[in-house]
């Protein structure tokens, strides 16, 4: 076990860096953005350091830090990571680097503030993934909303005020109940230790209320149907970087909440509501699949596609309660692994898709599909990359997008063949909305003089897109490393989730 304030560094270094950026006295913009990039690179290196010093094969929390925080409440500054949260730390730091690179020249209005917001948000998001204390978790959970709210509200599109408030209120109102539930648990257990919450015996009635409170907060974040309508608006108005972080990291928070809080703290209520959760997941996959098909705005289409993919995640988590027979535990593990892998892969692929749309938007200032056509003629390298990411979005084997969906479809059969079928229908629908987008934007006759004159990717754009294509390909060809890291923690979680707490 490694000791030392590594997680704290991952949280506070970017925040401190962000604050420094806001201070007056910087000589020029280039210093500021180099500084921002340096900080984000250091954070990435730190998270990789943590990744390589993490020990597989145990579900115990590692890199634990624990000092009293609010003694009056028995709340501690308690951090630690396991195999489930670790990949998300790396994903967060990696995405932040890309976002800063992507905003290098594009953001000209208050650039320092833009970078500062992303660095501060990075710190808070790392906080969410490493907090082991209920109050600390809630603090980071709410705090990360502020920078995102500002990013949409200041650097967003024409309807940014509407979108940012819709985003903020939707998610903020959602999480008020989370706070109530955490306070209740804190009172009852006598501390805010999440691991103590997980161990605490609770009656079904209490669990049900706790589950509902968590559900409201997490379902909004995932987002699950029918509380998903904030997402398309937020994405459409957010600047590219905002969309990337929103899709890559923030959407994972809700699913992460299910794993860290709902399933282990309220396993009996999870079983009680599992039918509802599965239904909502399948609705997300099928209903939203059709909605995505008719979108005319590229960002909206990808936003809806995100909802579909997150449906696989929640399906993978909750189908386990319906599994019967000898293979239940193994299938349940496969389902949860598939869900987590899907979260990671979606983080990479949706980030890449939003960045690709950003590349086009920066050139023609339109997100309308109808503006484009024949982009591959003027931007062949970009066209190849865009199609590659689309294929990953479609879940083509050999890309990371395949692995999680495959695991979820395989494992869900253990619960019901019909749910497997429902999920598998996304093979058709997902290919439909994604590749129809490709047909209209990348392929086809060159739409206009402007499209014909589109400048090719510059080296920075290439760097960003290729550095996303690499992990998408590598983890598609060899997903084992990520699955090995999470194996023990997922097994532990499934045991918790399938063990009754009543009595």
């Amino acid at each position: 076990m490694v000791h030392g304030p590594w997680l704290s560094l991952l949280i506070w270094l970017p925040i401190l860096g962000g604050v420094c950026l806001l201070l007056p006295g910087w000589r020029s913009a280039i210093f500021r953005r180099t500084f921002a990039l340096a900080i984000s690179l250091v954070a990435l290196a730190l998270s990789l350091w943590v990744w390589f010093h993490f020990q597989d094969g145990t579900s115990a929390m590692q890199f634990v830090e624990r000092v009293p925080w609010i003694p009056l409440l028995h709340a501690n500054y308690h951090l630690g990571v396991d195999g489930i949260s670790l990949p998300f730390l790396v994903l967060t730091t990696f995405s932040t680097v890309l976002v800063i690179l992507a905003g290098w020249r594009i953001i000209d209005y208050r650039q320092a503030g833009y970078f500062a917001a992303f660095l501060i948000m990075e710190g808070f998001m790392n906080g969410v993934f490493s907090a082991l204390d209920g109050l600390l978790f809630y603090f980071f959970w709410e705090a990360m909303l502020i920078p995102m709210f500002l990013i949409i509200g200041i650097w967003g599109g024409p309807r940014r005020i509407y979108a940012s408030f819709k985003f903020f209120l939707y998610t903020f109102l959602g999480s008020v109940l989370l706070l109530v539930a955490l306070i209740y648990l804190g009172q009852r257990v006598g501390s805010y230790d999440l691991l103590a919450f997980q161990r605490a015996p609770l009656g079904l009635g209490v669990q049900i209320w706790i589950f509902i409170a968590f559900l409201v907060a997490f379902a909004v974040k995932v987002p699950m149907w029918p509380v998903h309508t904030w997402l398309p608006d937020a994405h459409v108005e957010a600047p590219t970087g905002g969309s990337v972080i929103l899709a890559a990291i923030m959407l994972k928070m809700g699913a992460y909440g299910f794993l860290r809080l709902s399933l282990p703290i309220a396993p009996d209520a999870s079983r009680y509501f599992a039918g509802l959760m599965v239904a909502l997941s399948l609705i997300a996959i099928l209903y939203i699949g059709f909605v995505a098909l008719v979108q005319t705005d590229m960002k909206k289409l990808i936003a809806y596609s995100s909802i579909v993919h997150m449906g696989f995640v929640t399906l993978g988590f909750f189908a386990m309660y319906f599994m019967i027979g000898a293979l239940t535990t193994e299938s349940a593990r496969m389902g949860v692994q598939g869900g987590v892998f899907q979260m990671i892969s979606h983080g990479l692929v949706s980030a890449a898709l939003f960045l690709s749309v950003g590349v086009l938007y920066d050139r023609l200032h339109s997100r309308e599909i109808g503006t484009y056509g024949g982009v591959a003629r003027s931007m062949p390298v970009f066209g190849a990359l865009f199609v590659f990411f689309a294929m990953a979005n479609v879940g083509l084997p050999g890309t990371s997008g395949f692995v999680g969906e495959f695991q979820v479809i395989l494992s869900t059969w253990q619960a019901s063949p019909w749910w497997s079928l429902g999920a598998a229908l996304n093979l058709i629908l997902g290919a439909g909305f994604t590749l129809w987008l490709m047909k209209r934007v990348v392929f086809g006759p060159v739409r206009s003089e402007a499209v014909a004159r589109l400048p090719a990717l510059d080296w920075r754009e290439r760097l960003v897109l290729f550095s996303l294509a690499l992990p998408v390909l590598v983890f598609g060809l060899w997903p084992a490393p990520i699955l090995n890291v999470m194996r023990a923690s997922v097994a532990h979680l499934v045991r918790q989730a399938l063990t009754s707490k009543i009595g």
Binding site: F139, F165, Y287, P417, A424, I428, F443
Partner: protein
Amino acid sequence: MSRNWTSSRASRMMMLTLSIVLLPLAAAALTGLAGRGLGRRLTHAVTITAVGVSWVLSLFLVLRVLHGARLDRVLYTWMVSGGVRFPIGFLIDPLSALMISVVTFVSFAVHIYSIGYMKDDPGEIRFFSYISLFTFAMLLLVTANNFLQLFIGWEGVGLVSYLLIGFWFEKPSASAAALKAFLVNRIGDCGFVLGIALLLRETGSLDYSVLFARAPDLVGRMVDLGFGLRLPALDLIGILLFVGAMAKSAQIPLHVWLPDSMEGPTPISALIHAATMVTAGIFMVARLSPFYVEARGALSLILIVGALTALFMGLLGIVATDIKRVIAYSTLSQLGYMAAALGASAFAAGIFHLVTHAFFKALLFLAAGSVILGMHHEQDMRKMGGLRRHMPITYVTFLIGSLALVAFPGFSGYFSKDALIEAVGHSTIPGAGLAYPLLVLSVFVTALYTFRMFFMVFHGEERMDAHTREHLHESPWVVTLPLILLAIPSFGAGWVLFHPLLGGGYWDGVLANAAGNHALAPFRQETAWSFFLSAFGSPTFYLMLAGIGVAAYGYLLKPAWPAAVADRLGSAYRILLAGYGFDRAYLWLGTTVAPFLGRLLWRRGDEQAIDGLAVNGTANALGRLGSWVRRLQTGLLYQYAFTLVAALVVLVFWALIRTSGGV
């Protein structure tokens, strides 16, 4: 000591296999990433050398396999999940070795041909990179020792097929055909993935060796689907997997993408949409023969679907006027034959026909491509005629391909197809009685559409415009050499392969046979020569002659007759022209029903029901807040907003501390 020796021999065999599979990938990667730096010539050299070496190595592999060498080895573990290890690994046995040599040979010929065919195309380098990538994916598919890798290769060839159908992506019809091909294949994949899921659940593994060992345990096991629906596990798995094969190998009703795939460059039609990729479904079923022989219900379905495809797709070939479409319908029909052989549990006959078909169909497509080159990219046969005088090599090779296709005695197609039909006749799988007459009738149809095409293109009056006629000449050697290369096995493969493949000596038990079914028994004692002689006593021979005769009458002697017949047939003719309406049905589903549903759910569901009603109150409050904040925009929204939110958080914590402090 001896263990070391065998393991080092296995290692050498693994190295050989890996070289064959990875060489085309390396070539594809190199030319795909650095093609523009390499230039045309180096791109040709790199890709052709890689595939050529792969082909030569594959011959060594076949030799080793003939000497009894086998390989079943894991390269690396893709993942471990749900207590199951999913490996990437290779299986070399008579079946995969045969497939490897066919794939690399046809690919090699097509690579050479493409130098001539794709000359002057601005996307030439991209094209070569794609076909090398395709070769890799196809090899990955046929060498897999487990279902996961098969599926990776399966989707890999699908991807390259998509990219190549849409190769001329600026043509709206090309990008539409690419999308259609991918989507229809995805319908198949949907069944395929579910089949894999059920397979995994019932056997606990996706490795072929484990599956085959456990298949007998599944006999009699039922799968409960709910709603009182209980089906035999084996049949359900077999059918679900075959749904995938139906899309890939273009069986009714998932065949609709293949005729449209002709939008791609002609070398692709030869390599992907005739010789190799479309046979992947046939290969998959044969690969799983130890499994399928226990699933008789699934076999019956395959048999019937195959026979229907063979006849009804052949009929469409009679009315098509685009030369590539005629050959495409013929491919559909021949794939139906192969599927019928599989369904009759005559797996060896199905694979035999797959092999001969790969040669003569690749030949026909490439020869058609040579014609299209000569005609300045005209594909309408009504504007051709009399080409035999201008393109002698193309003419002769096309004739060899045609004779092989109609199963003229002595040509490769005769040995495989007549054996196949006879095997179906001897089969005891339910449905064989229905399939047999359909297949026999198709012999007439095949001969009719093939020689209709042949006469329309090469004989009769020259119907092209004067300009085209002036420039008519034989294609360059890079085009005609592959034609000759392919003409050799199109004629001779039957003589060489008949006895080993159908006598059963070659397979060494790799292809199973259903219990009590003796579809292939008649061929045990036959030699190629005796089988050749038996042709003239068989009714199929005279049906084939009749087909050629009718074609000769209508397209050589009485050119006005076909139109009169079409008139007389009226609505039947129109049904054929419309391809039985499949395309319209899919089009309606895809462009009318699905978007309608999408708009309904979006406008009525998301916008009206959820946002409009449920979020209404909140939305109003939101609006008011919004307008309030908008006034602040004159100042620094940034700071105001930050203060607002920070204050909210502080408030919450303050309240929290107060309430808990009291406890």
